[in-house]
């Protein structure tokens, strides 16, 4: 379930904690395993992480279900993480989310037919100065408008071709 490469990466994190506290590395371990499993975690993957870190499966599941960044359903190649907290909301995020959904033909939480993109509503990403904004991968896109969204989404589609 966990590749040797991933295990090596997890071990780096385990080494940062005192001996016997390897379960402290659970968040990073889940992240690493998620990354190599098409960006989502299955029950088996969570159990595998728990086994590797010698902790109860349910304890790993508690972490995996608490944080927004872990996915439990298949996601697209790109996840658009749209902020809908107060600053973005006041600047029209809700309308832009509806626009984006229409453009992609899916609702938030769903994946486009070509498995390229899914949209997720998230809480504040700390970029209120550029509201409304969303995040794709490690990249923030700020001061969004319908035009800008067209440009970004079309760009993603073109890149994948």
């Amino acid at each position: 379930m966990i590749s040797n490469k991933a295990k090596k990466q997890i071990d780096i994190w385990v080494a940062k904690y005192p001996e016997g506290r390897q379960s402290s590395a659970v968040m990073e371990a889940l992240k690493i395993v998620q990354a190599e499993n098409d960006n989502s975690l299955t029950t088996e993957a969570i159990q595998a992480v728990a086994d590797y870190l010698d902790m109860p499966g349910i304890a790993a599941a508690e972490v995996a279900t608490f944080y927004e960044n872990y996915n439990h359903k298949p996601v697209g190649k790109h996840t658009i993480r749209f902020c809908h907290n107060i600053s973005c909301m006041l600047n029209g995020a809700d309308d832009l989310i509806v626009y984006l959904e229409k453009k992609l033909g899916v609702k938030t939480g769903e994946v486009t037919k070509d498995s390229l993109i899914n949209v997720k509503k998230v809480e504040c990403l700390g970029a209120c100065v550029g509201a409304p904004m969303f995040q794709i991968g490690d990249q923030y896109y700020e001061n969004l408008t319908t035009d800008k969204i067209d440009e970004i989404v079309d760009g993603l589609r073109k890149k994948s071709k």
Partner: protein, 752 residues
């Protein structure tokens, strides 16, 4: 800790610095509402119900996690405290369904009780409530998670007490729910305690579902007799039936927990398989008769077969380990008055040539203070759950635990060194340990040790026992399958003496300590169980014996008892095919909780109990049956008005402790060895008839485990039937061993 004085609601109270406030208010009987706090679990302070006003603190403080300091002034009843408590209550009720009329917890619900005091009459919440899907977590616990208030007591119970974290809080915010991760059902042998700790109706007893309201039942103190601890319980009864069992606090035995076996075995009482009327066999046909007819038939039968011919040495008495102290006493007294010493209860012990003589000399409460434990031949977790709980506590405090077993087991604490060896190597290993111990003390070696080999593992086992701190050597139930059992016990006695270790003898089960105390073992010139069966006695009195399950040599035993000519009186609670085959009279006796009597636990503590319900139908408590039988046999000294008089007779007579036969024999047999272990929920007739217990994972343990090499020798593959149970090939078993966990009737006992 320093003594300090604090003021609670204007009253000066003494306390120790650092105590949590709620512990002080509880001691002073000042009521503070709470949900997540439980005295035996860690503090989580997440329900916020116990908020109180501490003078000087800007905000109300949770009493469960506020350590007290000298001069603190606390108000639990003032406006600020009340307002906070009411506010928390309102929040807790937002998502609670308030379905008390159809909830099993209704009437004994902490949420309901606290809502009476702190809840508002009218809810201000008009939005929709959330619904949480239930998970099926097995045959014992019913879930209704919409009612859950996220106190996390069940989660903490699993992680801290049961040692297997099975429930957890997943999701967050409004989506948080308490659930198990995988839906295989809860595995813990202590799982029923989650029902007790749950303050609401989210986790309730499945067998008890929709049965009764708590106020309809009588709650009576009783003692569970399935293991060597004698857990304190309440039997809750309705119209003469035991409807539920819950834990009763006793810090000396079971603290506030009980095992699932103790909690759910009561279901067997109402099983259709109960023997309800006395029966006699006339010309091969069973006939239901009145008690006086049956007892008359029994007395005449004994007369004709042995007594009239002055052949009382042809009479034997056997009892299973479920009998009470009084029953053991009366039966041995009858035998001895009649002049027979053929008395035994050790039906499941393989080799009785010399007794397993090992005294337990450690209190259960002290077990948790041990620095080191050596467990030999036991899966304590399933065999003696409450003893294991203490060992686990010791382990959590830093004790090291070494194990010598024939198979790897899933202990719920960390094991320092797990030695998986065949039973015939145990005696040599222990001899090696004794040798290392003696050598380190520069003492002279007895002859039998000179040629004993030692190695690193053995040296390490010995060094752990020699190290500073308190050690305990635990001898477990698997030793009864061992030909060298007596030598093993004697070696342990010697090792313990040299290393100043305590000893704990878990080789017996149920109420067998009572059998020992009452002298229910062969006396001078008497035969032990194996000898009795071999010499084909002419008459037997069998007390609650189920040959398929109780005898080590079960097939041999059934054959011997079926031989023509023997007159057999059987006292049983449940019907049994074999009993019906070989008996001449069957007398229906009352079962657990239907009779008064006593249990003797591993500390030698006599715990007496009264009957919680009267005996059903035509059954009678065995002590009464035995008393009347003695009267009919015209024996002197059986004028008892109640079972307590029997008890006091036992406690007033002096008893010799074990007769130590110090012989140590290191020779062992070779070949495939079978360790035959009754599954935890098959230890007595009552648990075998408890349907819900049998439906659990532990209840369905039924397998013969062996490793690949052994399987090859026996020409077995996975799933083949071996001794009547399916074979499992697993490298966790020592070579040349088969570990049989028999749940139902097997042929295993007859072999090996």
């Amino acid at each position: 800790m320093a003594k300090i004085e604090i003021e609670i609601d204007g009253k000066l109270v003494n306390a120790r610095a650092g105590e949590m406030l709620i512990a002080v208010t509880d001691r002073e009987s000042i009521s503070v509402p709470r949900f997540c706090y439980h005295k035996k679990l860690s503090i989580s302070a997440n329900c916020r119900m116990c908020l109180v006003d501490v003078e000087g603190a800007p905000k109300p403080q949770p009493a469960c996690s506020t350590p007290i300091a000298d001069g603190m002034k606390i108000h639990t009843q003032n406006e600020k405290a009340k307002a906070s408590q009411k506010a928390v209550m309102e929040f807790l009720l937002i998502n609670h369904p308030l379905d008390c009329p159809i909830c099993d917890q209704g009437g004994e619900c902490e949420l309901q009780d606290v809502a009476m005091d702190y809840g508002s009459d009218v809810s201000r919440f008009t939005e929709g409530k959330r619904i949480v899907a239930d998970s099926d977590i097995g045959a014992l616990i019913q879930t209704d998670m919409t009612r859950c208030i996220h106190c996390t007591r069940c989660v903490r119970f699993g992680a801290e007490i049961a040692g297997i974290m099975e429930m957890g809080g997943t999701g967050r915010g409004e989506d948080m729910k308490i659930e198990p991760f995988l839906t295989e059902g809860i595995q813990s042998e202590l799982s029923g305690n989650m029902i007790d700790v749950c303050p609401v109706g989210a986790l309730t007893s499945k067998p008890f579902r929709y049965e009764l309201r708590s106020w309809q039942m009588n709650s009576m103190s009783n003692i569970a007799r399935h293991d060597l601890v004698g857990s304190n319980i309440y039997t809750q009864t309705y119209k003469g039936k035991v409807k539920r069992i819950v834990a009763r606090d006793n810090d000396d035995t079971n603290e506030t927990w009980i095992s699932d076996r103790d909690r759910f075995s009561y279901e067997g009482l109402a099983h259709e398989n109960r023997l309800l009327a006395p029966q006699i066999k006339v010309e091969g046909e069973w006939k239901e008769v009145e008690w006086n007819v049956a007892l008359d038939f029994a007395t005449r039968g004994l007369g004709n077969s042995v007594l009239n011919n002055h052949q009382s040495d042809q009479l034997g008495a056997l009892a299973s380990n479920t009998a009470t102290l009084e029953e053991f006493h009366l039966l041995q007294k009858i035998l001895r008055e009649l002049g027979s010493e053929n008395i035994d209860h050790r039906l499941n012990v393989k080799n009785l040539n010399s007794p397993i003589a090992l005294d337990s000399n450690v209190k259960l409460v002290n077990l948790e203070n041990m620095d080191h434990a050596l467990i030999i031949g036991s899966y304590t977790r399933l065999e003696q759950p409450m003893v294991n709980h203490r060992l686990r506590k010791a382990s959590l405090k830093g004790a090291t635990v070494d194990v010598i077993n024939a198979m790897e087991f899933d202990f719920n604490y960390s094991i320092n060194s797990e030695n998986i060896i065949a039973p015939n190597k145990v005696v040599a290993t222990l001899a090696g340990v004794l040798k290392v111990v003696l050598e380190s003390k520069q003492q002279e070696l007895p002859d039998y040790l000179t040629s004993v080999k030692t190695d690193d593992v053995i040296t390490e086992l010995a060094e752990k026992l020699l190290a500073e701190g308190q050690s305990v050597i635990v001898l477990g139930e698997h030793v009864i399958n061992n030909d060298s059992a007596a030598s093993i016990a004697n070696l342990i006695t010697n090792i313990a003496k040299q290393t100043k270790s305590s000893t704990l003898n878990l080789s017996a089960s149920g109420n067998s300590m009572a059998a020992n105390l009452s002298g229910f073992v062969p006396g001078k010139g008497g035969l032990d169980v194996n000898a009795m069966l071999e010499s084909e006695l002419k008459a037997y009195i069998l007390l609650d014996v189920y040959p398929h399950y109780d005898f080590h040599h079960s097939i041999k035993a059934i054959d011997a008892l079926n031989k023509d000519g023997a007159f057999i009186i059987s006292l049983n609670s449940f019907k049994d095919k074999d009993v019906a085959n070989y008996s001449d009279v069957m007398l229906p006796i009352s079962c657990f909780y239907e009779t008064s009597g006593s249990h003797v636990n591993i500390e030698g503590e006599i715990q007496s109990f009264t009957a919680s319900v009267s005996a059903p139908s035509d059954t009678k408590p065995a002590w009464k049956v035995l008393k009347v039988l003695a009267d009919l046999l015209e024996l002197p000294g059986f004028h008892y008005a109640d079972s307590a008089q029997v008890t006091s007779e036992i406690t007033h007579q002096s008893h010799k402790s074990h007769v130590h036969d110090e012989n140590i024999d290191l020779t062992t047999k070779q070949g495939i060895q079978i360790i035959w272990q009754k599954s935890p929920y098959a230890v007595d007739a009552l648990s075998r008839h408890a349907i819900s217990l049998q439906a659990t994972k532990i209840g369905q343990m039924n397998s013969a485990s062996m490793n690949k090499a052994t399987a090859k020798k026996l020409e077995m593959t996975q799933g083949d039937e071996y001794l009547g149970v399916p074979a499992i090939i697993s490298e966790t078993v020592a070579n040349n061993c088969v570990f049989v966990n028999a749940n139902r009737s097997t042929q295993a006992g007859g072999q090996s």
